[in-house]
């Protein structure tokens, strides 16, 4: 008999068939979430709850969030939170996949601007209960931000914070340039004048000096961390323009306001030499190494400033007015939501955690992110803080959110790529504007 170590060929084939059958069985479609056909009775409140939480808080604010989750578990020892930190790109890819697969996490933290794309795709459950019966006050949020997390009349989550851009000023460099950190510029002309004193070549000359060498710059005046989006949006908003019209049917990138804003940014880089060519440049390294005067970065930079021992040499400036009409700062928010298809137990655990986090906005403010609730933002201790108080006030006064759209990511991507091509001299301003207009309009037309 043909055997190997006592195993006959027939037995081997039978065994292999069994393994394949098992593998196929394992690939069987999962039971859809919410299918209660085998559970006639709703489960009682379990003694122990487990919450699977996905988020992308991997910046400097991430460590505060993890501390906060730890604090929550200490105070509520019946709950275990399984925190999964993903990069935002992976997060925005995994969340819809998990919803389609019927196996979403119990809770996610997403962005306010993304609600427009989650709403029509039914990624998040309506969150009315939090406001109707769980004590989260509807009127304690910045109205524009709260309005933006609604879809078909219902909020799709609870706001954790209000975040956005602001200025981190290197006091020593500003003083060395003969400027007063306590007197920020109030309009474009003053901004350009002041910044011109902050850019230096290796011989210590400014762009205003006749023999300034733009090929040998060792210190730049300012840089915007998310220059492809925030800086461009702030520029056009401050001019009174926008990427699309109010009802989201027409691209308005080829307007005078947007063209002027883009032209200004191009000049900042290539004519005035106040801002580096952004690709291949690290704003973080430059700020840490005292070769950058003003960093326009996110409110979550507080831990970075603290950990880099830069607190004593940094002060806050609100987003400068680059535009011609009014000051505006880009803002958004983190939204805590429960994905569609989360089971009853997961919903229960996530709801408790969401309410707790909403109530602990002041603890979350340790990360630098102003709490979403205005009552907490206006807390005197927070208001007196050089960083978080200033950011919070800025958002309340001149903050602006992006316009919601079901294809917001594609719209953002289209204009960002074209604007980058202009800033890096791959295209002219008029070419970039024309192409961005065309691409954004294509997205809007497809949606229509």
């Amino acid at each position: 008999m043909n055997t190997v170590h006592g195993l006959s060929r027939r037995k081997f084939l039978l065994g292999s068939g069994g393994v394949v059958a098992l593998a196929l069985a394992a690939c069987a479609a999962p039971v859809p979430a919410g299918d209660t056909s085998q559970e006639a009775v709703a489960p009682a409140m379990p003694e122990a709850l487990e919450v699977d939480l996905w988020h992308g808080l991997g910046g400097a604010d991430g460590k505060t969030f993890t501390e906060l989750v730890g604090q929550y578990m200490e105070e509520n020892d019946h709950v275990t939170v399984n925190e999964e930190l993903l990069t935002w790109d992976i997060f925005y890819q995994k969340v819809p996949s998990s919803v389609i697969a019927g196996n979403p996490p119990d809770m996610i933290i997403t962005h306010e601007w993304a609600i427009g794309q989650w709403g029509p795709r039914r990624v998040l459950s309506a969150a009315d209960d939090f406001y109707d019966s769980m004590g989260v006050p509807r009127d304690d949020f910045i109205p524009a931000v709260f309005e933006n997390i609604h879809y078909e009349g219902s909020p799709l989550g609870v706001l954790l914070d209000t975040h956005g851009s602001g200025g981190y000023l290197n006091v020593a460099l500003v003083e060395a340039a003969g400027l007063d950190p306590a007197s920020p510029p109030t309009n474009r002309t003053e901004f350009v004048e002041q910044m011109s004193l902050l850019t230096l070549d290796s011989q210590g000359r400014n762009p205003t000096d006749a023999d300034f060498d733009p090929e040998d710059i060792v210190q730049y005046a300012f840089h915007s961390h998310f220059w492809r989006r925030w800086a461009m949006l702030e520029g056009m908003w401050q001019n009174g323009g926008n990427t699309v019209n109010e009802d989201g049917t027409q691209a308005t990138i080829d307007s005078e306001e947007v063209t002027e804003a883009l032209d200004f940014w191009h000049k900042m880089v290539h004519e005035h030499h106040l801002h580096a060519v952004p690709v291949g440049y690290s704003m973080t390294d430059s700020y840490q190494n005292n070769t950058l005067g003003l960093a326009i970065a996110g409110s979550w930079w507080r831990n970075f400033i603290q950990d880099s021992n830069l607190v004593d040499t940094t002060t806050f400036w609100r987003v400068p007015q680059y535009g011609l009409v009014e000051p505006v700062a880009w803002m958004s928010a983190h939204v805590m939501g429960i994905p569609t298809g989360t089971d009853e137990e997961g919903t229960m655990g996530a709801s408790e955690l969401i309410v707790w986090l909403s109530n602990h906005g002041l603890d979350w403010a340790r990360s630098g992110q102003p709490p979403a609730r205005i009552s907490l933002q206006n807390d005197q201790v927070l208001q007196d803080h050089w960083h978080t108080g200033n950011f919070g006030s800025q958002f309340q006064n001149i903050g602006r959110t992006e316009q919601q759209h079901a294809n917001i990511t594609e719209i953002q991507n289209a204009y960002q790529q074209e604007f980058e091509a202009v800033i890096t001299n791959v295209k002219t301003v008029s070419e970039g504007i024309a192409e961005a207009q065309l691409r954004v309009q294509e997205v809007l037309d497809r949606e229509a």
Binding site: L13, V277, Q417, T424, N425
Partner: protein, 304 residues
């Protein structure tokens, strides 16, 4: 006379041909199950998806026929990303073949320290793309990069390496060659060691010098190995994603935006799986054409 048992009867009768062959086919079954489940099936389904406006999360997925392919034909970004990808792949494959061949010839001569050289040449291959990307992004950083430090040290003007259109693809390609040439190096070395030494000896007796020996013996006899390397390298580098994603995000101004980056954006960031599938089939068609061209020029039979 004792009755013949069924067992004895079976032994006496020749086994039918299909019974003889059955086990062979059964051994192939596990492979084919996985092949159809994870390769052929998804491909067929991917093509099916490419015929629809398939937003992964919307219930309504209208049938478009070949509409996505028509859009692809007119899509400027597709052609731009394809141009970047072809340029990157051509430079990288060329660099890998030349450097891999040079290194393998060098090591075959067994100079002092050749074992260390072999180790050094192959070491970068074990790095993940993320590690490679982060390291080289810092090397080419405008302000604090290692390269600009040395450029400045020798008195030349520093450059915005990754911030300039003319440099970005060559730099990405150069970085990838440093990272991946260890594999072609090993395959070439194996090919070189496989060439019978008597051929070289006979040539030497006939007065052939080293250069002639390399061009008339080594290169022709390495043709099958070269074909293998060129084909696999082209396929690999046409699918470039990680380096660009980490080092440039496709910039400056889409100058290093690759087809797979575009596909990723369309599929996973914009949720347009139908169009992303048509991009994938477009890229597969291009790879197929390039592979056929490679076979046409390098696929001749070699005998010795």
């Amino acid at each position: 006379m004792a009755a013949i048992s069924p067992e004895q009867r079976r032994i006496g009768k020749p086994m039918p041909r299909w019974r003889k062959l059955l086990p062979n086919y059964l051994f192939l079954v596990p492979y084919f199950v996985f092949f159809f489940l994870f390769l052929a099936g998804p491909n067929v389904y991917g093509f099916y998806i490419s015929l629809f406006n398939w937003d992964i999360l919307l219930p309504n997925k209208p049938y478009l026929g070949f509409g996505n392919y028509q859009e692809l034909w007119l899509d400027k970004l597709w052609w731009l990303s394809l141009r970047n990808t072809v340029l990157f792949a051509a430079l990288t494959v060329g660099g890998n073949v030349l450097l891999g061949l040079f290194a393998s010839v060098l090591v075959k001569q067994q100079p002092p320290g050749h074992q260390i050289l072999r180790f050094l040449f192959y070491t970068p291959v074990v790095l993940s793309v993320a590690v490679m990307g982060v390291i080289l992004a810092r090397v080419f950083n405008t302000e604090f990069g290692l390269l600009n430090y040395y450029v400045d040290l020798v008195g030349l003007s520093t450059q915005k390496w990754l911030g300039e259109q003319r440099f970005v693809i060559p730099i990405l390609s150069l970085s990838t060659v440093w990272w991946t040439f260890g594999f072609p190096f090993l395959v070439f070395l194996a090919g070189l060691l496989n060439i019978p030494e008597p051929i070289y000896e006979a040539a030497r007796i006939d007065g052939v010098n080293r250069l002639q020996s390399f061009t008339h013996i080594t290169l022709p006899l390495l043709k099958p190995v070269t074909l293998f390397i060129v084909v696999t390298q082209f396929i690999a580098h046409f699918k470039v994603f990680g380096q660009m994603w980490i080092m440039t995000l496709g910039g400056p101004g889409n100058s290093s935006y690759s087809v797979v980056m575009y596909l990723y954006d369309v599929g996973w960031r914009f949720f347009r799986m139908g169009y992303a599938s048509s991009l994938a089939f477009g890229l597969a068609a291009i790879i197929l054409v390039v592979t056929l061209i490679n076979f046409r020029f390098l696929g001749g039979r070699v005998e010795y």
